[in-house]
């Protein structure tokens, strides 16, 4: 395989021989297919690609990729991935996690991998439920959701994953959904970003939370609820592209408006600037519409590059690894 040039790889080269064992109809199938299709086009090679996951349905993902893979422990994938990347920065590292794995038990590690801006991709499959443990509410479940562990409805306030990522200082925040044709585009943008790239993928769990994103993902209803963001373009959406976002200076928020109504024109619709952190923050949680695509993208110091810079600095200052000198630093004496 090493002699192959990268463009010769196909989806097949990234597909392992393991039988996929997710439930029929699980959104994970579509995500897996999108990743397997996208990687060859990114110049990735199976030997230099590593998928690292925690625990949960989504975390079985690495077994189905014909790349290097490490199915680790609950919530810790970002930390394991950090070690993998620091030990070999040449590797293309992908973290696969879910709403429970990444935002509940592993929330701390997700926070820190994002703020450090380690050059890797984090794909968070958000199905708003614990699937592998049979249907308890998750940290992204809506208030009132009835589950075996919340028979009278969940009383937890849900976390907004993209908001969490922005708050953590992520330099790349995107959102997509499992069956979207534009998922490969989001994956490509994430992969091209230098630093930690966070992608929330809305994912349907047909067994324990079926249809939770239907309004957004359904072919019929979807267009009215999907706002696909494009840098430098007005933020328009709707079945006929008739709606858009207008900045409300009084409330410091974004209003959904319809062009042609109340004197609204295209001029009123604000332009997406993916480098604007404040704008991205407002886009994380809009009323009546879900912002998709790249919410935020900016350059920041990349942790693993800083590690290399410091290593070079140390080598410049102290020279090579001289154990003999190391053991003699400070005071020594000779007994005769």
């Amino acid at each position: 395989m090493s002699t192959n040039s990268p463009e010769k790889y196909s989806r097949k080269d990234f597909t392992s021989d393991q039988e996929v064992r997710w439930c029929p109809g699980c959104g994970d199938y579509a995500i897996l297919a999108a990743v397997q299709r996208t990687l060859p086009s990114l110049g990735s090679t199976p030997e230099n690609t590593v998928f690292i996951s925690g625990i949960g349905c989504s975390s079985r993902f690495p077994y189905y990729m014909n790349t290097y893979g490490f199915h680790t422990i609950h919530g810790r994938a970002p930390a394991v991935a950090t070690g993998v990347k620091l030990a070999n920065p040449e590797l293309d590292v992908w973290v696969i996690t879910g709403d429970g794995d990444g935002l509940s038990i592993g929330g701390n590690h997700l926070l820190h991998v994002l703020r450090r801006n380690i050059d890797l991709q984090v794909m968070l499959f958000n199905n708003q439920i614990y699937g592998l443990t049979k249907g308890q509410y998750s940290p992204t479940s809506q208030v009132g959701q009835v589950t075996p562990s919340s028979p009278l409805g969940s009383i937890d306030q849900p976390v907004v994953p993209t908001r969490f990522a922005l708050g953590a200082g992520a330099t790349f925040v995107a959102r997509a959904f499992d069956i979207s044709k534009k998922l490969p585009e989001a994956l490509t943008a994430a992969r091209e970003h230098e630093g930690a790239a966070f992608i929330e993928i809305l994912q349907n769990c047909p067994v324990f939370n079926d249809g939770v994103f239907d309004l957004v993902t359904d072919r019929k209803t979807g267009p009215a609820y999907q706002l696909w963001l494009e840098h430098g373009q007005p933020m328009m959406f709707g079945a006929n592209g008739e709606k858009g976002l207008r900045f409300n200076a009084k409330t410091l928020s974004l209003d959904v408006v319809t062009i042609g109504e109340d004197g609204v024109t295209e001029q009123d619709i604000i332009i997406h600037d993916e480098t604007n952190h404040q704008l991205a923050w407002m886009l994380t949680d809009l009323p009546d519409v879900v912002a998709l695509g790249v919410l935020y993208r900016n350059r920041g110091p990349v942790y693993n590059e800083s590690v290399e810079t410091q290593r070079e600095l140390a080598e410049e200052r102290f020279g090579g690894p001289d154990l003999h000198a190391l053991l003699r630093q400070g005071h020594t004496w000779t007994v005769t």
């Binding site: 395989m1 090493s2 392992s16 393991q18 199976p46 030997e47 230099n48 590593v50 625990i55 690495p62 077994y63 990729m65 014909n66 790349t67 290097y68 893979g69 490490f70 199915h71 680790t72 422990i73 810790r76 970002p78 930390a79 394991v80 991935a81 950090t82 070690g83 993998v84 990347k85 620091l86 030990a87 070999n88 040449e90 590797l91 701390n108 590690h109 926070l111 820190h112 590690v307 410091q310 290593r311 140390a314 080598e315 200052r317 102290f318 020279g319 090579g320 690894p321 154990l323 003999h324 190391l326 053991l327 003699r328 400070g330 005071h331 020594t332 004496w333 000779t334 007994v335 005769t336």
Partner: protein
């Protein structure tokens, strides 16, 4: 102080002594650790053998003058071999009433008490819990007292430098050190050079400290000291010729890890979260980036070990260091490294437990945690260092075993080893055997759980290698394909393989042998870890007294060395002194069905030689009856 009779006839102005134990004690902010370590360096220069014991509170700067803010540094130095920092001080330097209060009980009757009366204000006496001044009410009459207003003499000595009152007063530890240098005939040059270097950016502070150091020394030369107090001399010890340095356990561990990685031909990743008393490992290693060391100060203990596991997956030596509470948090990730069969070195600088326990005090109570403290049948290798210098060799051994057997290795040290210093003959680097790692590269017939027939170690195939793409993880794997397997027989066999792999390492370590005494007899004292020095000296005393006692010290806790059971059964009885409530004792009884008895002490302090001698004699007495 042991006096050499022969030396008394010499018409020397200095009395010659065999060995001396000094304890420096003062407020946390008085600089006692620096004073002690400077005295240690000067003493090493004078050719004595020595051992030290820093003993400080968990509070960084406890309120000044309080007993719980007292910081101490004890050193034993001698013209013969020294294995412990000494049971009871011959000399106590007390910089304030609280230091006297905390330490006067341990000073030998007739011992020398150097006391800074400048700090004996009514307020300080009250804070220390004294109703009256102990220097005046006769309660210290059993000591030889050198009462000095060190505060005032320091201010006098440094006033020409022109520092403020606060900074001037801070020089009092150097004044005291100067006096102690004179009392014991130590040279000042090294400390002067050190001060100049330390305060290179602040030459006035350096100047003041040097002035104070010299003034203390001059005071000793000129003052008419009270009756019974004079200068001493401790002749050089007959150390094996060679190049020496002082080394603390954490320094030696850090250098051993680096050396191990070099011998393996690999880069090293040290993931750690700050914790007492392990943090200085992180500090040491952070300065060694040019040795291919990456240090990662993680967000927590779990991330620290997880990153190390990830680094090992990527082909580095993954190392994490912590203390007991941190190991508790790392347990699941250590289990992952066991299941995925990846190399991982875990340093546990043990401290008093359970829970937060005694962060700055020493204990050996994590043996169970190390050997069995994980979910599932999860065997790994456990090593224990015996002395500060031994930490170097055991850290190398930990790396060697981890990469050779694809297994996690826990190296147990403790707070006492971590901070204590001893003169250390520098290792002959050329004599260290390299163990270069060969990553698996051949795609032919590859699966990730291919094993070496001899060692049972699985192949190490690192990401980036074409044709070896594979997936590992915490789920049980099929032993013939490496794929997930729920097959009952496979799980039984994989569990057995993991067990056999670690058990088999017993063939790769030295057979059990006694360190002192015969291989059979009345009583075998079995120790492990940092109690080596105290047990060794106690057994020496016991043997001098004619008791049939031998000493065996374990550095391999799991697997235990071959031949240990036979050796244990060659003695009428087995006694296991431990700074815990009998953990090794239980392990030995379980493994060998021998009636090993426990000698426990959990005070946060190392064993005292006299205490051990007494306890063993009591034990011998009982069996004689």
């Amino acid at each position: 102080m042991k006096t050499t009779a022969a030396a008394r006839v010499e018409p020397s102005p200095r009395e010659t002594l065999d060995s001396v134990v000094i304890r420096f004690a003062g407020d946390s902010g008085d600089g006692m650790q620096l004073t002690g370590s400077q005295f240690t360096t000067a003493t090493a220069d004078a050719g004595n053998d020595l051992a030290t014991f820093p003993d400080f509170p968990a509070e960084i700067r406890a309120p000044a003058g309080t007993t719980y803010g007292v910081s101490g540094y004890q050193i034993q130095f001698a013209s013969h071999d020294v294995l412990t920092p000494g049971d009871t001080p011959d000399v106590l330097v007390a910089m304030n009433p609280a230091a006297l209060k905390v330490n006067s009980e341990v000073l030998k009757p007739g011992g020398l008490l150097v006391v800074n009366t400048g700090a004996f204000s009514t307020n300080n006496l009250k804070k220390a819990g004294y109703d009256s001044n102990p220097l005046e009410d006769g309660s210290m009459d059993r000591f030889r007292i050198l009462s000095l207003d060190i505060n005032k003499m320091t201010l006098d000595a440094v006033k020409d430098v022109g520092l403020g009152a606060k900074e001037s007063n801070r020089c009092k530890n150097m004044w005291t050190l100067g006096l102690m240098y004179w009392l014991f005939g130590r040279e000042r040059d090294q400390t002067v050079a050190w001060l100049k270097h330390k305060f290179a950016k602040n030459p006035k502070v350096a100047e003041a400290n040097i002035a104070a150091l010299n003034a203390g020394h001059i005071y000793g030369e000129n003052a008419e000291l009270p009756h019974g107090i004079h200068a001493y001399e401790v002749p050089a010890a007959h150390l094996t010729p060679g190049e020496y340095r002082n080394v603390s356990g954490n320094e030696a561990t850090a250098w051993g890890l680096v050396t191990g990685a070099q011998l393996a031909g690999l880069k090293m990743m040290y993931g750690s979260y700050p914790i007492t008393p392990a943090s200085s490992l992180l500090h040491q290693l952070a300065r060694l980036k040019h040795f291919g060391v990456t240090t990662f100060q993680a967000e927590d203990e779990i991330a620290a070990v997880a990153a190390a596991v990830g680094a090992s997956f990527s082909g580095s030596v993954g190392v994490t260091g912590t203390s007991g509470p941190g190991i508790a948090l790392k347990s699941e990730a250590i289990g992952l490294a066991i299941a995925a069969e990846l190399p991982l070195v875990i340093i546990n600088v043990q401290r008093g437990g359970p829970s937060t326990g005694l962060p700055t005090k020493t204990e050996q109570s994590d043996l169970f945690q190390a050997v069995v403290g994980r979910n599932g049948d999860a065997p790994l290798v456990v090593l224990a260092a015996a002395t500060p210098g031994d930490c170097y060799y055991m850290a190398i051994e930990a790396v060697r075993m981890a990469v050779k057997y694809m297994t996690p290795v826990i190296l147990l040290t403790d707070g006492y080893l971590a901070n204590s210093a001893e003169p250390w003959p520098l290792p002959d680097l050329d004599a260290l055997q390299p163990f270069p790692v060969q990553f698996h590269r051949d795609p032919e017939g590859f699966h990730p759980f291919l094993r070496d027939e001899q060692t049972h170690a699985r192949v190490w195939a690192v990401p980036g290698t074409p044709g070896l793409e594979h997936r590992i993880g915490g789920l049980e794997k099929d032993r013939t394909t490496g794929h997930i397997s729920y097959d009952p027989h496979n799980h039984h066999r994989m569990t057995k393989i993991r067990h056999q792999k670690v058990a088999g390492i017993a063939r790769d370590i030295e057979r059990a042998k006694v360190d002192q005494g015969e291989g059979e007899g009345d009583l075998l004292v079995v120790g492990w870890g940092s109690t080596y020095g105290a047990i060794s000296q106690a057994v020496e005393v016991l043997r001098e007294r004619g008791h049939d006692v031998s000493h065996l010290h374990l550095r391999n806790i799991w697997p235990l060395p071959e031949g240990l059971g036979d050796l244990l059964r060659s003695f009428n009885s087995v006694l296991v002194p431990e700074l815990n409530f009998g953990q090794l004792t239980m392990l030995l009884r379980a493994e060998f069905l021998v009636p090993a008895e426990s000698l426990t002490r959990v005070t946060g302090q190392p064993f005292r030689v006299a205490g051990l001698v007494e306890a063993v004699e009591e034990r011998l007495q009982r069996s004689a009856e």
